[in-house]
Symmetry: D2
């Protein structure tokens, strides 16, 4: 087949799958450019470039997206306390938009008609990548080999890929494949598939890569403090190391190192993928876990109650869902994030934390915002308002409740609720 | 003044405040009955009864509300994963409705026109108690001395109470008052006021009562499993102790003991009281923390994605707010809890947990509900649906996103978002 | 091709499309049974049956689903005030679940492996039908000809269908096809496609079928009253006709007749289909419009404020979205509808309405629920509570607002908001 | 009593109540300045000034707030389709913030320590005014005579006020007081209290002031068009009058005149006041009703589905509640309105309307935003996407539904839902 199929920019990882896809795309007549994003993962980019070109890529692009990943994706997520299904901090979801944007920028500049990736046909990442592609460049064309019968039928398992690699002269790492898949970036590492697909299998201790096991973490707690301005971390102080860090990226890396040391940030869940399939995933997000705890705490001191409640119920939940489902480059994401600054205007202050064997313990917080008023909240002295005011407040609050209770009594329906739930199981 | 003021049922604690209130109410001409609720707190009820009668109470009532506290309040809260402002598990809030109901039952039976309590005029509990009273018996009258100028002006501080106690012959414990207040029940203990009013003061180690410090907890992890039916815990297995527990109350107590031993369940927050004042509180909820982690996890395996999302956004948040604000005996609580059973129908299964120095680690979970399908979610094999279907799904999902992107491009507004948040601070 | 392709139950309408599909399915080797649902539409079922059998259907089934449509779908929608995107009363969406359930019942009884329908590949109805099929019988197989290239490429336009009809001896109505499509049932009729696809084209006066134009409606208003029990209409009184109606279906039909006469219930919107495409639709829902106005009004008198607010924000919106998107036989619908009864317990009473040239005017309402208290709400007399209580209420409500204002003033940010929106356009 | 009580700025209406309050405040030793806001109501400001000064006000201030009322309050409300409890367009609520801000500006400039108003102790307006005062100037002091026992006990009814007016030489209008209260501004007029307190009393025809009765409105429809930019009305065209209007305030006034003529915008409801009391109110909002219908319609054509859904569920509902409850100068209002611009960026276009006897009929709409695509939504032609994509979409959408259905079938719980609601009443 001639090269007339067009030019494709392939999201390349250096691994077996995308190397085979690279070779296969060439076989299909595409001119292939390889793209790698540096989002903070541990990776031998030099070796990967060499390999891509060896397999047949016409060009290789490495985009360092670390800083924009931190400042455009991670820190807004910190500002909204983003979390999916109560547990997952969205590490993979947050990286996808910057990677997709990096790819589209190269694809446009280099005149690629197609983009391609090695995501499976069952996961979230295919959706996240492709919706991001379309949101940025609606006329881009996508080649997703793992959803093409001519590809997936030809490569029904790892052995078929290995055979093809051998045939194409693709070097394969001699290390045995791990019995799970991972996705790593500056924010986190994820583990899924393989032996983890049994939700009752405890992950083996040697799986975890970014954090020490709590059991093996230091016996001595370590204390740090994190300063926020408008909900963004602006300074981390680590007394034990005599260090103060103010650069956004360095802050995150320092918190990662601390979390790693103290065994902070492991989770293991069964989550619901966008396509409606349940899936088991394990994650390590050391720095993000510390940062979230600190930010949530500071909001207690500095954020108005009603703003917090509305933000939690709408922005936190919707932002997290939008990110998880790959709807980053959409009008609803633009809409939701437009409300973040007004919610963070007062989130200024300092949080003091203790790290110890998996625990992030809040030890104190301070702020000059002035929404907390020691005298006013004091149980031990008057101040701020008259106790008699509360009587009026309670009377007014009880108006509709009394009406309802009177109606219940009149109808003989009072006091029915609640019931012993053990007697009313469905 | 003669006793014509009426009969009042006083929520009595045995402490200095309510003993003085008891005496003061008698002084105002009330006939006073004293009421204590056993909701699992550590308390010398016999001594308290003796003291109440000695101070002048005409009758003393002790209501054992432990079981209904667990089965009517705590377990529904477990079913909805109740939590206030991301951190607080609502231990005090959950006890108030059963106590208020117990009081109203006695008040009605004993012909009391009034109920009274020793809550301060600035806190949540006065609101919770009184709204509950009114929701159960809208014509009840409430005497809240700490909101009556004739009371609070007379007793401006602890010394005034001590003087009054001496004058009235009320015995006062010789132990020095702790520099904070507590509220304890089977679910938790809370600490607030006193030295804790400075949000930057780390609680002293000897404050914590219900849990071992993580630093002092065993070096060896302990493994347990919790079984749920319809979202309710029905069996706890503790292999190390060769124990299996099935009684609802015993389950909770066993989890409390385990959490206590392993340093689980301490939190320290600044929260927003219903009256709009920020307040610092520390809480220990050992068993509840374990149970919540287990229940949240099992829902990952057994609860439909959309039900979970709707339940989280509406029921969890609204139920928690309703409880916190003391709106238990209200139509909105009746409305919200009516949705719980349908959300928990499928939450059946077993969760395996490891407890270690403050950590509750999920090690696995199992269920026969069948909503999780290993083959379908497998990244390593086909199954459940065709990968090509996902292509269609993504195309359809991208329709409106492409339209929006095209409009942006036409208007020259594409790619503007997101921005480095460090450059756009408010 | 032999009949070995299997037995298929076709949702048959008697029109050109489904008659051609019937013939084409036979051509593909299927044994075809035809199914029609009577959901109150004007239709010659006898002629349709004759035609289906003439075209080659082996059996014909007519299911009268009118009553279950009213009592299982329409009335719960009335209870929650269901509405999509502020305007559309969901007439088509509400009929789909009963039709799908009727089909699956026949398919199971008659041993059909397949179900088929004539919905286009761009609309909502295909999704609604098929998700309902799968929710009831997950192993059912669906044949959707308008999404099969071998069908839609063969029949690219109406003429191709006409030619095929002629070839197959399918009788075609001599009346010229209307330049729009309709879907009719007891609840409403919808118009879309054809000339309506230009959103700026005003529908021609002769399009509207179920209602008189307001311009042509009687010059004299007509007064009626509707009684509700638990949010369900239980009696309609029409004084002008000396009629009182109590049967659920008869009530709806009577309101339809009244709405038709008085020009009530036409809407014309651009809506967002589930697949993300915008679409223009016109609808006539005469009886439903009257009923919704009456029910919303009665809730003002009889439903607690907080229940109403929560119900509006969650149940009304989610129920409507679930219905619109065809998610009826799903766990989330089961979950959402489980909250309806508790929200309607107090919605008992009578509403008095005036109908006049498109207007539904509320003239009064009454109830013995007792949540409305004339004396308490009276501006002209004291009662229900002390005016001084309101002072306390306002003081407490202002606590956090004052704190925030003080902080703003200290930071020099007070009074910035709001702005003239004409000066701050995006 | 000497004038040492301080200087008070009184919200003066010229009527009996505030004239008596003015005199009474002087009697209490206050120096009284009178304040009137022109928010578009019909009023003889000259006569009112004369009267205020005659009664004893030291100064009189008239603030023309019409324009800021329209551009800072009304039009943001149009952008979010603000509505309270499905029916009330918030006319009074919207005026309160600008009036309060006007008063505080004068109070600060003129050195007033107090502000005062004539609102009753049972309504919403006292709360709206006072929370606005505190949100703007947290140290302002408020005198609310109708909540002061020394005032309300002295003036238990209208006759007491009349007697006091006579004694103080306050001129009283000879016209008989209407048996209801009103509040009027550019946006609307409200009627409540008096004979309207019986929710079953139909308002007498002569009560309505701002609109012609539909019965008396012209027999001939009138057509107009409204253009929006970023969700704000920027041009109204009235062909019958050969008029085009572009000034924001003039646009609103023109729509008011049109609505008045054609009987548009009357509502009659029982609503829930912030203090928890149910209250009957009638409202006329002619221009606002037209504008809301037009804006809602244009959003169908120009606003993304997901943005619209999120905006409806969160911003519309929360903004409306915030306004109704008088929480305008609060952090939550600042937060919520910060999301409006991003929601309205694409709401650009033209809506064509027909006005006829109470009806606002949408006859068409146009926009160059391009989110609506005739070909893509067309049922009659292919385009925009492949019909086969929808098959994939449906398959993926059905994954979790099928799993749930399979589980139901296995447990014998399939097909239980829904039920005839007439058989399951609470």
């Amino acid at each position: 087949m001639s090269a007339s199929a067009g030019r494709v920019l392939l999201a390349y990882s250096g691994g077996l799958d995308t190397s085979c896809i690279l070779a296969w795309l060439i076989e299909q007549g595409y001119e292939v450019y390889a793209f790698m994003a540096d989002v903070g993962q541990e990776e031998d980019f030099v070796a990967a470039e060499k390999k891509a070109l060896a397999v047949g890529a016409k060009k290789f692009f490495l985009a360092d997206l670390t800083r924009e990943f931190v400042t455009e994706l991670i820190y807004p997520a910190v500002q909204v306390n983003a979390i999916y299904e109560n547990v997952y901090l969205l590490g993979t979801s947050l990286a996808r938009p910057v990677i997709a944007r990096g790819m589209i920028a190269v694809a446009e500049r280099e005149g690629c008609d197609f983009v391609s990736h090695g995501c499976t046909g069952k996961g979230n990442d295919q959706v996240r990548f492709e919706l991001a592609f379309y949101g940025l460049k609606p006329d881009i064309k996508v080649v997703a080999p793992w959803r093409l019968p001519e590809f997936y039928n030809r490569f029904p398992g790892r052995q078929a890929l290995l055979d093809y690699a051998e045939q194409k002269g693709i070097p394969v790492a001699q290390t045995k494949a791990k019995p799970w898949s991972t996705d790593e970036n500056l924010f986190h590492i994820s583990y899924e598939a393989g032996i983890l697909e049994d939700p009752n299998t405890t992950p083996p201790p040697d799986m975890w890569k970014l954090t020490t096991a709590p059991e093996d973490a230091p016996q001595t707690p370590e204390r740090i403090s994190v300063e926020f301005k408008a909900g963004l971390p602006t300074k981390v102080t680590i007394p034990d190391q005599n260090k103060t860090i103010t650069d956004p990226v360095e802050i995150f890396l320092a918190l990662n190192a601390l979390g790693r040391k103290h065994g902070v940030g492991r989770v293991d869940i069964v989550e619901n993928r966008f396509i409606g399939v349940k899936s088991r995933g394990c994650y390590e997000s050391p720095g993000a876990t510390i940062l979230r705890a600190a930010h949530v705490d500071l909001e207690g001191l500095t954020l108005d109650r009603n703003v917090r409640a509305l933000r939690d119920q709408f922005v936190t939940i919707e932002f997290s869902r939008i990110l998880y489902n790959g709807h980053f480059f959409t009008p609803e994401r633009e809409f939701i994030t437009s409300a973040i600054p007004a919610s963070q205007r007062t989130v200024n202050g300092l949080v003091h934390l203790k790290l110890y064997k998996g625990n992030v313990v809040i030890e104190g917080r301070e702020s000059s915002e002035g929404l907390y008023d020691e005298q006013q909240s004091s149980m031990d002295e008057l101040g701020g308002f008259e106790p008699t005011d509360t009587s009026g407040f309670i009377q007014i609050e009880s108006i509709r409740i009394k009406k309802w209770a009177q109606a219940n009594i009149r109808k003989g329906q009072a006091g029915v609720e609640p019931k012993d739930v053990y007697g009313s199981r469905v």
